[in-house]
Symmetry: C2
């Protein structure tokens, strides 16, 4: 399909604004969350193209046509996603061709490509698959590298203005791949700006506390915009500059650097990365640099801490293994936690966290070891040790200690945040050395 009969667009027109229209009954019924709109909005923002409106509409020809036309009336480019499937409900290409003043014609190359793809992927060929080979006569056809539905890019005059209409498939992988390969390179030639970012990743502070710590820096800024956003247990600060295409990366660095330095001075060790790396990646890098190994003893997190570290490629060089001791009996038999500690202090205690960390470090012979023991709920909390009580132990050659946390939220949030805090405690310890 690289050789599809297609039309090249030769307009010199710049694109300043774009509108995203998501098509699909599943969105109107709330069956799926609209990640396509988010992904496209993000891409447009990076390209310096303004997005003032997004819309969702179903597979109804009248409503769809009205919504697309409204978009064409107010934006240079309209991007639709969805409704390119092989069923009778899927009418987006037909509606868009009609709006663009062209018609759908049978494209034998597309039909052959769809047929080959169905055979090679062992899909079931339905009588409807030919439908995806009905493509607009006057449009650039967009290649679908990961599905059977081609897309299209129309250019035409609408209400006296030259407009673009891009028609992309709905499945997120197909949409993103087609955008990335077929639309983005072309869009780059249509805009002279682009948004450049630096990501500062932090743990250990809530969003509101972090924001209040740097609120004066945020408000002073004009060239560099600073947007905090919270993920589970983390806050990411995104620093952005709208750059023109003739600015060098050196010039951009000079714009970012003073703000970055101000924030670094203010937030210090809460920052774990200014390179948009994840916490597991940073920990793996630190450990690799020291040629050190780590092991974990997990109770309430039950494997989340280990799984989180192992999510980073290269983890096998630094991560030996873990023991998950859900039953108290195993804390004794495998990790050597004494019956006295379990009896007098309990399984969720400083003493137990320390004994677990020591035990796993000695059993697996690693340089560092981290232990987690806590009450994730919904049951098991007491007045003295409420649900959310977590002890995290850290053992290394120079000694062993444990930290106390009280985490809020449901069972699985407590477990996730406990794992993240354990990883962060390890990061602080190894980066201090």
């Amino acid at each position: 399909m690289d050789h599809l009969t297609t039309q090249e667009l030769e307009s010199e027109q710049q694109i300043y604004s774009a509108e995203i229209i998501s098509i699909g009954t599943e969105l109107l019924l709330g069956q799926t969350v609209n990640t396509n709109a988010r992904d496209l909005a993000c891409e447009l923002s990076e390209l310096g193209i303004s997005n003032y409106y997004q819309a969702v509409v179903g597979d109804n020809p009248v409503r769809m046509e009205a919504v697309i036309k409204q978009g064409l009336g107010r934006s240079d480019l309209v991007i639709t996603t969805g409704g390119l499937g092989p069923t009778e409900d899927d009418i987006t290409m037909e509606v868009c061709a009609k709006i663009a003043g062209t018609e759908l014609v049978f494209n034998p190359e597309a039909e052959k490509w769809i047929r080959d793809r169905i055979v090679s992927h062992h899909y079931v060929l339905t009588s409807n698959n030919w439908k995806q080979a009905m493509l607009p006569k006057a449009a650039k056809i967009l290649f679908n590298a990961v599905g059977t539905a081609p897309g299209a890019l129309f250019q035409f005059d609408y209400a006296g203005k030259s407009r673009f209409l891009a028609v992309l498939p709905g499945p997120p992988l197909e949409m993103n791949t087609m955008f990335e390969r077929e639309l983005k390179p072309w869009l780059r030639t249509k805009t002279s700006r682009s948004l450049q970012h630096i990501y500062i990743r932090t743990t250990g502070l809530g969003e509101s506390r972090l924001t209040s710590m740097i609120s004066d820096i945020i408000h002073e800024q004009s060239t560099v915009s600073i947007a905090p956003y919270a993920e589970d247990g983390e806050v990411v600060l995104r620093l952005s500059v709208m750059a023109s295409s003739d600015q060098t990366s050196e010039e951009l660095k000079e714009i970012f650097q003073p703000v970055l330095n101000q924030i670094r001075n203010r937030l210090g060790e809460y920052i774990y990365s200014v390179e948009n790396k994840t916490l597991p990646q940073i920990v793996v890098e630190h450990l690799s640099a020291q040629n050190a190994k780590v092991s974990f003893a997990e109770s309430c997190t039950a494997g989340l801490l280990s799984a989180e570290l192992a999510s980073a490629p290269g983890a096998s060089n630094v991560f030996s293994g873990s023991i998950i001791v859900y039953a108290n009996e195993l804390k004794k038999s495998l990790l050597g936690v004494s019956a006295e500690i379990l009896q007098s202090d309990g399984a969720v205690s400083e003493e137990c966290a320390i004994a677990m960390a020591k035990g796993i470090r000695s059993l697996l012979q690693t340089d560092y070891a981290v232990s987690v023991t806590g009450i994730a709920g919904p049951e098991g909390g007491t007045a003295v040790k409420p649900v959310g009580t977590v002890w995290i132990g850290l053992s290394e050659c120079s000694g062993t200690f444990a930290r106390h946390f009280i985490l809020r939220g449901g069972r699985n949030r407590i477990r996730r945040i406990a794992a993240l805090n354990a990883l962060d405690l390890l990061r602080r310890q190894i980066s201090a050395e």
Copy 2:
């Protein structure tokens, strides 16, 4: 704020259609995904209220007013989310009051409530917080149980028709809580229908294969609609019936039952739940019923399998613990996998998976044990054992076996799907007994 001076709405008017308008620059910049629209669409669909349009617009008074007015022109109810914060950018309440033909007045009760809340949560009181106490004169005020911004429900005539406009906050927890407590009970009185569901959860089949296995059942249906949707490694079939408020649950059961039976006959053991329970919940229930314990030996999944099982409350009754053997040395020293197996068959082999499962079962003295060993990538694949090769072992008193899987996707997808397959293998084994 339960005693806020507020207006009760006394219209008899039914609500047939509603439109969702999400307000916020962060959505237009692609910084957040619009879960609010999904959640509201889902709720409306459950309530039997049609949703034909959704829109996203920024904090711009002219564009916001135009989008809300367009919604009022075509739907009985418009729900907005976002733009109720304390900053100058947050103008939704003002714009909506203007559209409804009323004005914002200072509400001392709301101000007191906001002040108390800020004090009790140790928030920083900014000079702008008073803004959230400026509330519409003629509207029902909606209580915010988890934040400082109250919402509002307006009723007024628009273009000759009686319309409702509900104004909710943007943070998902605040939006959902306010909808659930303040809007939903009222909406139930405004509609005589509701959508009723049964969820059939399956593993082991891809969406397209599963759909083709029951495509005739799907097409034959008129009263019961059947919607498949894929999650990672699972496919959920949602059976829905639009019920009127006078139908009994017995009558509904009679409508669902024949379709449910047809699908059960066709999909058999691929179905793990018809009660919308998760796979970990089902496994915990099965093990509890047998009063049996389980342990895991994980290599490539590195704790994901254990963490997944432990996500179900009550897991501590059936889950003893696990050993994560990332380093090959530990497969020998902790699980007793022989050097011969590691040398001749390799760590990713049927023999190794069997030895790991036997080893952990004997070490932790459990009734069942499951092992996972595989190549998650990105490195480590060979022509014979490509990335995605996974062996899953299962050991119980009657014997031990292992199954071979080749999983597609990136490192973390392979790890997640391997953990899910391991859990499903355990489910099939224990439910067969």
